[in-house]
Amino acid sequence: MKKKSFLAVALFLSLSLVLVLGACGNGSKSGSGASSSSSSDSKQLSGKITIGGSTALQPLASQAAKQFMDKNPGVQIDVQGGGSGTGLSEVSAGNFDIGMSDVFAESKSNIDAKALKDYKVAVVGMTAAVNPEAGVKNLSKADLQKVFTGKVKNWKEVGGNDVKVQLVNRPDGSGTRATFDQFALDGKTPAEGITQDSTNTVRQIIAEQPGAIGYMALSYFSDKSVVKLSIDGIKATEENVASGKFPVWAYEHMYTKGEPSPLVKAFIDYMMSPEVQNGVVKGAGYLSTNKMQVQRDATGKTTNK
């Protein structure tokens, strides 16, 4: 009898705990202290900024944050990874002060893009990476699409050596995949192949595997282990990306929920300043947005500036 009643109490307690935990999970934790910093004196900034999201943008943001903190000792900036999706979700929920993303918020259907303010802090160019044994350095866009959609199975069909094509994709929803699919494959869905997340792993596989093709940011083509593919005879260089001749590039975004607090604004201004744009951004292998002669909107339409 006594045992039974105890069991009932235990069950009731655990259930109530579940409810409490569930309620906590719904993310009412907002504003991690950035607003507390809003002192009128702009010289003495202090407070805490939480940044998170895209792992591609993370090293750049960390470096800029470090320099910003050296200049403003009262400021603490916390840069996390988590992926573009996490960045957008968390900044919309108010858990991040700045959400980093490789893709436009508009491309994620369940994110209210109007509530977010977009700062394009850098541009990243990317192209296909091919194993040297395939014997191709240039492909027309149509041939590239045939390779990626699985219509071409051997490199000799597009003027290369007699080596089998082996695709290396990126996971669903990754910014690199979205950009490559949209601007290199014109929205076609790539055929099934190996899928890897990290750019370094992708490069290693392409370098070792005869006939492998994948895609990655231009800054990762640092050695001769993989071939940097030209598309339609246009070399994938920073100049061609900046002039708009080479189509496969994307913005790196920093999103804030509504207007940023003065502290967050100060950091974003610093990100956009020539010091960062010509220093850290360049050093990390990105292009400065100021150098771009073309611009692009969320639907992917490219226009001259």
Binding site: V18, L21, G85
Partner: protein, 321 residues
């Protein structure tokens, strides 16, 4: 012991007041009177916390996992049996989880197939053949194997097993078999140590009887010890399989993560865990992809519950015997 400790610490923190209390024996009287209750409270609340954690994880995962069917209106049958996983396809995205379910199950079974003979051989070696020094050498080896982080297994797999496979069997080397080998090595210590325990539990009288009627050592092991340890050996294998099923990181690095049902064991494949770790960070909370990934998590949970039921059933049968 415990009571004395509390008292001394309190008196240290708050000297004048507590020394007064100590003189009058107030604290001692208080702690004595309530220690029984507090001890009980502590122990019961730990137990309740653990139960609550399991219940809440299950509930949370179930609620999140069912969202893709209740909120996003995916067909549950298509989800389980469909073999096309194209969540980001512009027109008509499809969510078919069958390749991952198949991948998870085949990696698990293959890993068990690779591990079991080696693990049981090791277990027999350290319990029957070389009781003293076999134990002394193998025990630390097993502990080291357990202690190696899974990412290290993945790295070794990627830089040793994958090139080996590529040179000898063609293809990319990133394959179902590579994944199974890496996981097989990972679960080897688990299976070995549990198998060794179950062989040790076989009463010596059986062995002595076997030797007495003239059986050799190998005959004794093969005909008497292994059948006697029978179902606990199977428990060891199932425990190893349940660990193999949940492994994500190392598998992801070597299996290739291709989202189709593989044609052979040399083809790349994907598992439930690898697809979750690959895509979760890129999906936004509440999107269909995110909900579908939670549903994959729910499938994982359900299958791991099935493993637990099997283990309990096996050990129940053993106890009944």
């Amino acid at each position: 012991m415990g009571i004395n400790k509390t008292v001394t610490r309190r008196s240290f923190e708050n000297k004048p007041e507590s020394s007064l209390l100590k003189d009058k024996g107030l604290i001692k009287r208080f702690t004595d009177r309530n220690s029984e209750g507090r001890g009980k409270l502590y122990i019961y609340s730990s137990a309740i916390l653990m139960i609550a954690a399991v219940v809440s994880i299950t509930l949370f995962l179930t609620l999140q996992g069912l969202r893709s069917f209740t909120v996003d209106h995916l067909n549950i049958w298509d989800f389980l049996t469909g073999s096309e996983w194209y969540p980001d396809r512009a027109e008509n995205p499809s969510y078919g989880a069958w390749p991952f379910v198949f991948g998870s199950i085949s990696v698990t079974l293959l890993a068990a197939l690779i591990t079991t003979p080696v693990a049981i051989g090791c277990a027999i070696f350290m319990t029957e053949v070389a009781k003293k020094w076999g134990q002394r050498i193998l025990q630390p080896v097993i502990e080291i194997l357990v202690g190696i982080p899974s990412v290290v297994y993945g790295l070794i797999g990627l830089s040793v097993i994958v090139p080996f496979m590529r040179h000898h069997f063609g293809g990319t080397g990133l394959s179902l078999l590579s994944g199974s080998i890496v996981v097989g090595i990972m679960i080897l210590p688990t299976v070995t140590s549990i198998a060794a325990d179950s062989i040790r539990a076989v009463p010596d009288s059986l062995r002595e009887a076997s030797y007495a009627i003239g059986a050799t050592q190998w005959q004794t092991i093969w005909r008497v010890v292994i059948p006697a340890a029978g179902s606990s050996l199977i428990t060891a294998i199932v425990l190893g399989m349940s660990r193999a099923f949940g492994e994500a990181l190392a598998v992801q690095m070597v299996i290739g993560n291709a989202r189709h049902v593989p044609h052979s064991i040399f083809d790349p494949a994907a598992t439930l865990t690898t697809i979750i770790t690959l895509s979760m960070g890129n999906s936004t909370t509440g999107s269909v992809l995110n909900d579908a990934l939670w549903s994959l998590g729910l499938i994982l949970l359900v299958i791991s519950y099935i493993f637990i039921v099997i283990i309990r059933f096996l050990s129940g049968r053993r106890n009944a015997r």
